[in-house]
Each structure stands twice: as C-alpha cells, then as structure tokens.
Symmetry: C2
Subunit: 725 residues, 2 copies
C-alpha cells in the first residue's frame, strides 16, 4: 500500500478512530457483539449510598471517621519532597494519630482498650489514600512493633513497654527480616545466647547476611526493637523467639554495640526511614525475652507451653497475621482510588472523532477503554467483599470469640490467599489506570505514579506473594491428602477413574445446553445461561478442586522419596501449585462477591452488581479458558461465546460506571489529582465553547480539505453540465 492509497483508505481510518456516538441507537441493533437491548425506564439503577455502606462492612462507623481523617491535608503525601523531608513529615503525622488516639482500639481490656482488632485494622487501611508511607509507618509502629509486645509478651511486659509505644515516646522497629532471610523466618541467623552468670541475653549478628534489614524506623527513629533471634540456652538452640531490645538512647544515639545503616532511597514509601540494624554482643536483661510462648529461668532452663518447636514457631508467627490482613484492605482501597481517578477522567476526556471536534468521543465510550478498566473494577469489588470476610475472620479470632487452632489456620490461609491477590490487583490496576490517563497519568500531581511506587513493595513484604501462594497450595494439598487418607492404595486408581466419570457427568448438561443454545442461534438465551451463578460457581469451584487434585495425584509418589528427591518432585509442579492457589483465591472472591450482593436489599443495586460479578466470574473463566476447554469442562460452543458475552457486559455496565465508582466513597482530599477534580471537564467545556463560537462566526477560517471537497464537487457538476450540453 502506498502513501497515496493510505489517504484513500482514510474512510476506514477515521471510522476506526472513533466510537459509538449514540449508545441508544447502538443498543437497538441485534448484532451479537453489541449490547443487549435495555428497555428504557426498566433499566436498573445502583443505590450508591447502600452499596457504599455494604462495601464499608461491619466497621462502617470506623471507616467513616477514618475517611474524614484521611482527607485532612496535613496527612497527605507530598508530591515533590526529598527523602529527608518526607520522612520528617510522616514522623510528625504519626504524632497527629497519637493525639487522635487512633490506635487505642487495638489495646486489650487489661491495657485499657476495647480489644477491637477489626475496627483498628479497618481504620488504618483507610490511611493509604492519605499517604501509603503514613499507613505503613503506623503499621510498623503499632501493627508490628507494639503488636509483637502485646501478642508475644506477658502482661507485665505489656504494661512496661506498650504505653510508651502507643504514645510514640518509644518509636520502635520490628526487627525480623535479615538481609539473608526474608520469607524464610525459620532460618534467621541472629543469636540471643543466655548468660546465666549475669542473667542476660547476648544479642549477636554473626555475619553480614544476618544484619536486620528493610526495617521501618531503623534508620533514624527507632529507640527500641522487637527483635527475632535464635534463642540459645544451655547449648540448645530453641529456634526463633522475639526479644525487646533498646537500640537508641533518649537523644537518638545508637547504644553501645548497635550499628545501623540507612536503606536510602527506595522505589516508594520514602516517608519511612527503612534501615539495617546489627548487634555486636549486645546485652539485655533476661526479662526482655517476650515470654508468652517460651521462657528461660534464671538458671537458663527453657520452658514453653507448646512442646513442639515447629508448632511453637508457627503459633508465634501466626499472631502477626494482622499485617497481611491490613495490606489486603489497603491494596483494595488503593485500587479504588486509582479507578476513581481513571474512570472519572475517562468520562470527561475526549479524543479522536469521526466528525467535528466538538463531538470527539469520551475515552470511556471506546471498547478498548472499557475493556482495560472494567474487569479491574469488577475484581476490586470482588476483592473488597472478600476483604470484609477476612477482616471479620481476623476479628473473630483475635477478639477471642472464635479462637481455636483451626480457625487460626483458616484465617492464616485466607490471608495468604488474599494478600497476594489484592496486592497484585492493585499494582496492575494502578498501572493500567496510569496508562489509561496518557501523559497526564505520568504527572506526580495526578497521584497514580506515586501510588504505584508506594504499593510496589506490597507484593513482596509481609510475606512474598509467591511464598504466600505456595503456603496456600500446601494447605489445599494437605487438606486434599487428608480426604484421601481413607482410600487404600489400590483404591486410588478406582478413585481417579470415578472422579473422571463424575466430572464427565457433571459437565454434560452444560455442554449440551451450550450446544442447543448455539443451534438455536439465540444470543440472548446463551448470554443468560452463561451468567447463571450456578454455572460460574461450578466452573470456579471445580477448577480450584481439580487443579489441586492434579498436583496431588502427580505428587503421590513423593511421600516415599528421600527429602531431596521429594523436594525436586514438588519443584517440578511449583507453577501448577501457584496456579491452584490462584484458582482458590478466585473462588473465594467470587463467593464473597455473591454473598455481598445477596445481602443487599435494593433490587436495582443487586441487578447492577450482578453484572459486575458476572464480569468478574466470566473474566476469570476466560483468562483460563484453554484449561477449561482442555479439561472438557467448557464446550467449544460455549467457549466461543464467552468473549462476546464479556463485551456485552462492558456495554451494559457503561451507563453505571460513575455510580460504581461513587460507591467506593473516595472523597475530595483522598482524590487530589486535578484531572479527576474537574480540570479536564473545564478545559473540554472551554474548547467546545470556542468551536461553537467559531462555527457561528462568519470569518472563521475554512479548512483546506473542506475547500477542496467543495471545488471537486463544483468541478464534477460543471463536467456533468458540460456532458449534458
């Protein structure tokens, strides 16, 4: 094709660069890729206030107050600040939180608090829209450092160290991670060796990789640390325990034997003074061991209420699940903010048109724009409802209402499944939102780039996402193995055959339905059947189950292998294991979303959110469609239809996008991006007025192209007349 012919094809080009000008017209077509006709007046409507309250969940009051707080300018992330300035600013902001008594809900009754763990976490999650550095710095101080004292210390220890921690008299570091070991906490190398002669612990960093690293507060502010080290007494290493270790004096000078290094500039969260700590034979009193799950008598005798060292370790770690819970919530909140900005902008920003400049198409009316943003909106809704379940489970356990080992383990598994899912979603959503806003999205003032920079590390801290998903997969595998325990060895073959038969039977009706619908060519009916909740749940539940089953069956020989061989065997299926864990998280989120909808009273809201839920469910299925096809769970006929069903849902949801975003209740003050605060609309209005005035005026310039078209027409008419003569 030459340059000449390119101009000739400009009809296609200009058509291709524009979109549906008139949605109402478009909805009346019966095109299988177009929207399903909606009867005007009968169209459902989202009750924004009701959905908003539903999203706020059990701690709606706390969230309302926290959102007011997060809108206060003095708590906001600075756009252009040096690392030093930002750190100082955030430290001052912590003091504001202290003055407001924000963390009191976390205190147990004997420390004068209401032991309202769920409310406490809910309130902190909301800080992410003020400044993620503030959320995480507060999380370090109270969610980790202070929590460790409360969860792992005796009441006496709590009374000594919690009040100054709460008041920020003692800023503290949570000294768990070392350079050499992050997610593998069991392998930490810092030692705490008991000296019965002086009744002291000797804290020591044996080599460079054992330096504590990435610790918030460590570079500058921390005066003490809750430090995790191997407890050694009488020549026995009892594994990792937590110690209360002063690190700086009242003037902020490092104590003798303590070294600190600054982590310097990071990818984000630069309001936090992350740093390293090392200890050279530092001595602390015997009573500085947080001794709830393990203690040492003056003579060095070790005792613990939990006999098994492995279970003792996991119990101690389990008390710190709150960090993961709150990251899950704040990641969802960050996604909400990003979507609020990008979708608001997309409904005002216009670009390209087939006709004149006053009728350029708003971005949100492009199929590709709906396609890039709405599935993320749907996943954010799913994540929000799932998070509320997680938060309630967390509160049930930590309030003591439902605290047993099984509930604790369920909670830990749920947190391990949701934290990686929501933090991944947040990063992908923020990035998509930033790109969807074009160059404006790259400007610091429009918040999206800063949000991505800050949230980036959420994917790898408080448990690396890959490691957490592997934990989930192990739990699913071990549950599955428990089920199989009663089946004898020979029976396993029969079991597999039966399972295949069950699967085949279960899916035949669906395959047949897909077939018959396709035969009748009734797109509407096919669309409805795919949106059937039972269908989606069955697909997602079976996938989650079958994926675990496949790994379990592939690994059934590993039990008889040497540990090294078994590890090698497991490693050959690691990608599948992670995949199974993700499938599980999809199911959890889908079910939470569905329960959330069922609990709504307003019928219109249920109808709209059911479309959103369907978008979530069908996107999850479509993203893994090859697997469903290969497993025979979805027929070719039905498979061919999913994409067009998804497109339909996008158009159906198009009229509701602003309501759906409004229900997130992202307030002015949370949104500080000028492009989402009316600046774009003002500019569009001003430009449109200019062009209107030009069209009304008689001396506005005429375009060369219009002139040429007119001349061509005149020439042709003249030729015609000449021909007639």
């Amino acid at each position: 094709m030459t340059t000449e012919s390119r101009t000739a094809s400009s009809a296609t080009s200009s058509a291709a660069s524009a979109a549906t000008e008139n949605l109402t017209d478009a909805t009346t077509t019966a095109d299988p890729t177009g929207p399903i006709p909606v009867v005007p007046g009968a169209a459902p409507h989202l009750d924004v206030a009701q959905v908003s309250e539903a999203l706020m969940g059990r701690w709606a009051d706390v969230r309302h107050a926290a959102r007011e707080r997060a809108a206060r300018p003095e708590l906001h992330r600075p756009v252009d600040a040096t690392v030093a300035e930002h750190r100082e600013r955030v430290f001052q902001q912590l003091q504001i939180l202290v003055d407001d008594d924000v963390s009191r809900p976390m205190l147990p009754e004997h420390l004068g608090g209401p032991n309202d763990n769920g409310g406490n976490v809910a309130g902190f999650e909301e800080l992410v829209v003020a400044d993620p550095s503030l959320q995480i710095k507060a999380g370090v101080q109270w969610g980790l450092y202070t929590s460790a004292i409360i969860q792992l210390g005796s009441q006496e220890q709590q009374k000594a160290w919690v009040p100054p921690a709460m008041s920020l008299e003692t800023p503290g570091a949570f000294a768990m991670t070392e350079i050499g070991h992050g997610s593998d906490v069991q392998s930490l190398a810092t030692t705490a060796t008991y000296d019965p002669g002086t009744e002291e612990w000797v804290i020591h960093t044996p080599f460079r990789a054992a330096w504590k690293d990435f610790l918030g507060n460590a570079a500058i502010h921390a005066k003490a640390a809750t430090l995790f080290a191997r407890l050694i007494t009488n020549g026995v290493d009892h594994g990792v325990h937590c110690f209360y270790v002063p690190v700086r004096d009242a003037d902020g000078e490092l104590l003798p034997g303590v070294s600190s290094e600054d982590d310097g500039e990071k990818g984000g969260l630069n309001g936090i003074d992350n740093g390293r700590l090392a200890f050279d034979q530092v001595r602390i009193p015997r009573t500085n061991l947080l001794n709830r799950y393990g203690d040492v008598a003056a003579d060095g005798t070790y005792t613990s209420p939990i006999e098994s060292p492995g279970r003792r370790f996991f119990t101690m770690l389990g008390t710190l699940v709150q960090g993961r819970v709150s990251l899950d919530g704040s990641a969802i909140r960050a996604s909400e903010l990003a979507l609020h900005i990008a979708i608001t902008y997309a409904t005002q920003r216009r670009q390209f048109s087939a006709a004149d400049p006053t009728q350029e198409t708003v971005l949100m009316d492009y199929q590709a724009h709906l396609h890039r943003l709405l599935p993320k909106l749907a996943a954010t809704y799913a994540g929000a409802f799932a998070h509320e379940q997680l938060l309630q489970a967390y509160d049930d356990v930590f309030s003591g209402r439902e605290d047993d080992p099984e509930a604790r383990e369920d909670l830990e598994t749920l947190a391990a499944a949701l934290k990686p899912t929501s933090t991944r979603l947040a990063l992908d959503t923020i990035q998509e939102a930033r790109e969807a806003c074009g160059g404006a999205g790259f400007m610091g003032e429009n918040q999206l780039v800063g949000l991505h920079q800050d949230l980036d590390v959420y994917a790898t801290f408080e448990g690396d996402n890959t490691v957490l998903l592997q934990l989930v997969a192990k739990r699913l595998l071990s549950d599955y193995t428990d089920e199989l325990k009663n089946v004898d060895r020979a029976g396993i073959g029969r079991f597999i055959a039966q399972r295949a038969e069950v699967l085949a039977k279960r899916h035949t009706p669906w395959a047949r339905l897909g077939q018959s619908v396709s035969d009748r060519g009734n797109a509407r009916r096919a669309f409805d059947s795919m949106r059937d909740a039972e269908f989606q749940e069955e697909m997602l539940a079976d996938r989650a189950r079958v994926k675990v089953e496949e790994v379990a069956l592939a690994l059934r020989g590993a039990a008889k292998m040497s540990p090294a061989d078994a590890a090698a065997e497991v490693n050959k299926h690691q990608v599948e294991m992670l995949d199974a864990a993700r499938a599980h998280a999809d199911l959890v989120r889908w079910r939470a979303f569905t329960s959330g909808i069922e609990a709504l009273e307003d019928e219109g809201s249920r109808a709209v959110l059911t479309d959103v839920r369907d978008l979530f469910g069908l996107t999850a299925i479509n993203d893994d469609l090859a697997w469903f096809l290969l497993s025979g769970m979805i027929s070719t006929q039905r498979g061919r239809q999913i994409e067009s069903d998804l497109r339909r849902l996008l158009w159906r949801l198009r009229p509701h996008v602003l309501d759906l975003v409004a229900a997130f209740d992202v307030r002015p003050g949370h949104v500080r991006a000028p492009i989402a605060l009316g600046a774009e609309q003002d500019r569009q209005d001003e430009a449109a007025a200019y062009f209107r005035a030009q069209r009304a005026s008689s001396d506005a310039p005429v375009s060369e192209k219009a002139l040429r078209d007119r001349e061509k027409k005149a020439r042709r008419a003249a030729q015609k007349r000449a021909g007639k003569r």
Copy 2:
C-alpha cells in the same frame, strides 16, 4: 486441619519449599514434566562473543563506543537527587555529549555529517542504561527538535538553526502535544495566522486545552521551539505545520507573549524539565515556517509540493518516526539490564531448603523463578532481533537508499507494531525482575525501581501504545481489503467458505500428528514436533492472518454505513483489532529471531538460541491457546502438551541462563546494582563459611528439634528393649 496436623504435614511442607538439588540426577528421570535427558559433553554451548555481536547488529562499532560512554560515572542516574538537582545534572551531561560530538552522525552531508541515521539512533539507545532522563533529554534536543528542522526545513533554515541546536547554544523544545490532544495530532488547536501586512506569523493559544504540554526543555532550558500549529492564511486553515519559534532570550527569560509552566514532579524521567508553553499573539517572521512541505509567499499565497492535505500531514509526521524507532531499541536495552540484574541475583541468592542451611536452593533453580523470568528473556531476544530489522529499515529509508512511499509506510507500520510491544515488555520485565529480587529489588540502589519509573511513560509517549496498535490494525485491515478488491460481492461468500476449507485442510496433518504422537506416548517425539519451526511459524502466521480476516469480515458492512454508524461498528471490534495487531507483532518478532539464529555460524549458539526461540514461540501460542483450540488450529491432544513442553524448555535453558545474559553485554557501570555486582555472593560465602565452622566445632548449639528427635529415638529403643525383656 488443626495446628497439630499442620506440623504433621511438615514433610510435604519442607519438600514443597525446596527444589532440585542435583540437576544431573533429575535429568536422568523419564518423568514427562522433567527435563529431556541431555547427553553430557554433547550439550550445546553458547558462544557469548558471537551472539553478543549478532545482537549488536549492523552498527556494532557504534554500540561498542556508546557502551563505553554509558559506563562513565558522570553520565549516571543519581539515586537520591531532588528534581532540580537531577535536571541540572542531566543538562550538564548533554554538554558532555556535545563535547564528544555524539550527534554528528545524524547530520546530512550538506551540513557536514555522514547522514548515518541508523548509527546515530543506535548510539543514543545505549544511553538508557546510563540514565533514561539523559537518553530522552538528548532525544528531545536532537532527535525531535533538531530533527524537525532538518526534516521539515529548507537548507537555508537548517544552516541557520541546526548548528546552534547541535552545540546546545539553543536548547529547544519539540512543541507538538497539547493538553487537549496528544496522539491525535491532526486536532491540535494552536493557530499560526499569517499577516501579510507585516509578513509575520501570529502564534496563538486559543484556550487552555491548547497549551503545549509535557514538552521536555519547556519548563527551564528551551530557548526555541519547533512548534506545531494550524497554518491559516487568506482565511484558509491548511492544517498542522511546524514553525520555528524563539521562546526565551539569552538570559533564559521568556519572550513577550510566551508563557511557561512547570510540569513538576513526574513518575520518572525527573532529569527532564517537562513543561507547558502558551502563546499570546506572538509574532515570528514569515520565514520561520519550516517550509519543505508547505510554504507561504509574501502575499499569503499557500503552496505545497503535496496536494492532498491529508497526505501532506502524514508525510510531515512520518519524518519523525525516529523517536519510535529509538524507544523500541532503548526499551529492549532496558529489559536486558533488568534481566541481567535479576538473573545474576537469582543464581547467587539462596532461600529455603529441605536440608541444612548451607545447601539452601538458589532462586534460579525454582521452577516458578524460571517461569517468571525466562519467557521474558526469550521475548527480549526476539525484540532485539526485531529491533535490528526496524533500525535497518529506518536507515534504508532515511539514507535515501530505499526511500519510496511504500518503504516509508512499511517502516511506520513496523515502528508502530514494535514500539508498543517492546515498551510493554520492558515495563513487565522490569516489574517482574524487581519482584523476583524481593525487598532488595525495591531499593533504589539496585536500579530496578528507577528503571521502571523512567520507562513507564514510554508506553504512552511518542504515540500512545493503544493508538499505535490501532494504526497497525488499520494497515493490516486495509491491506486485506485491497486483496479482496478483486473478489466480487457474491464471491465473498464463496471466499469465506474456501478459506474455512483451506484452514481445515492445512491443520489436519498437525492434528493427526499430535494425535498419533500422543497415542504412542512418546514425549520426546511430541516435544520435537512442537518445536518444529514450521509448526510455530504456521501457527503464528495463520493466527495473525485469521484475526485480521475475522475483523475484516465482521466490518464488511461498515463501508456502506454513515461515518457515525461505521465508527460505532468499528468500535465494537476495537479489542479484536488490537489483538490482531499484537498477533502481527508476535509473528514479526518470531521471524526476526529465527532469521537472526540462521545467520549465526556457531552451531552451539544456534542450538541454544533455538531453544530460546521455541520458548518465545510456544509461550506466544500458549498465551492464546484458547483461541487456537477454538479455531481448530491446535488439537486438544497437542494443546494438553504445550505447558509441559514449556516446562521442559525452562529446565533445558537453566544451564545457559548466565551465558544468555552475558551476551547482552551489560557492563559494569551499566550495572550499578550491588546485588548484581557480587555483594550477594560474598554474603552467601561468608554465611556458608560460618555454618561450616559451626558444624566442625564441638561446642556449637544443638537444635531443640534435633535433640527431641534423638530423645524420641532413644525412648523408642528403650521401649523396644523393655518389650523384649
């Protein structure tokens, strides 16, 4: 499952957290998910030097020199600098480039240069590893501002304005984008109205959305701008043309009528002073219109060598394709740097183990780690070879050797296909690399976060990725329509039927082959057949073709519709169009990679790179597997096998990862990340030595768990003895 039973299942747990300790042993198993046995000694080996030269391509000499330059510390990105400091630093760095005469190759002969466009771009691409801000600031000054004068101005204009632009005497802005219009350049609203009375242009910004925005150099350094505005003379708007407009005096003060605003802090590239410019009836001489493609006589008469306004506009824009070409190259180079860092670290960093701490598994030996990094490595190789083809095509056109409208359009389409592909790859690769390095990846000093921040905007500037892919799709559609032109209307039905038949026939042999191989259960043979180059090319080529065909057929009614209806119809297929463009880019990259391998002399290198190419090809197929299954192009049998084939490839490539990265020739100085410069290995060695010494010593602490196991054993033995008695 209770906490109790969790401990019981710790055998599975610890096995799951470790990996193949001994690859040689593992390779001898016949497990279908394991590696294909490699005969020792016969294993192929990558000739790093040869592959490195092949990747450097036609301008290897230039690249060698540019890589030396990019290693110089004075050109490096600062880790912690304020926006103001960074901007000043980069401006000083530009002067270093001037002193080195770095841009001279771009000058045509009549300006005293060699007109070596390819070499010039190759050299600039390499700057990205020094500091992307430097690369882009240089790109603004010489690749855009100066290039516009050379490409769009007369020789007289060039002689006046190019030398001070080259010497940085006149730093310049490239004032194209406006707040209101980025990718849609045709709709720019700034006006340049000719006043025959004074023989001047009056440059004017009619409303806020018409402010020029996001312009490098505009906030501080620019003294002039090549400004795009609607040329209006004698009451006719001749569309967007380029003007040379002084904006600041010698002291850096804005000239009368010119306003400027600072864009402030951005997501990255903060070494560049992006900003806005507006013009209030600013007058410039008639001769400041860059007049190669359009001129105005003293009396205001407009003339142009290109009659059609549309073609004229696209011809002017087409001269600026260089920006996209160089972004493609630098995005690939950035991916290479990210992979170098993450893969080097992954071969030294150890985490989790089934056995003792001195034998923790290196990250690179985890299947999930191979899975997250190697497909990106493969795509980076494909992108590098494809970029070399693009660069040669660019040089062929701009040297004048092969400059005709068709070659220009092919070049523009290739650039529009590759720039979005490589910039997307770079962002995804850098992010994956950063997460794969855990907390260390989040530290500024380890380069990955800064690289992501800087490259972020590559996805939306110099043509938004979505808009560019849509251009590609339109070109593919119009080529396809041209082919169909000779088919009469009634023939289209026959054509569709024939096409289906051809497809069915073409794929039957593959389906049959897949079937028979599966029947025989010979994994090796199935593996080989999937790695067949013909199979991969056929799949990728047919997919690219069929996806265009599907859209073309769906849109065949649009030609007869009103422009608005046609636009609505096209919009209903926008996602499919973008998908077709991506499929085209995959094919282009696969073919470039394959040609690149064929040109290699060393057999070992060809063998290893063929595995990498297969990983690229099969990943592309697997990512779209549902489509291949639904279109009948890949059988269920074969589809089931792809995942395990991909896993095999990962393990086959495992021994070559460091060689594959070494061939990128990322040098010390380019890599400044401590984690990729030996710091991690030193720490690992020190820790390993400590544990060796502990094991050798007699007074090292014994673990409580080991003690308990010993006691248990002793108790059991005692019970046994007691039982015997």
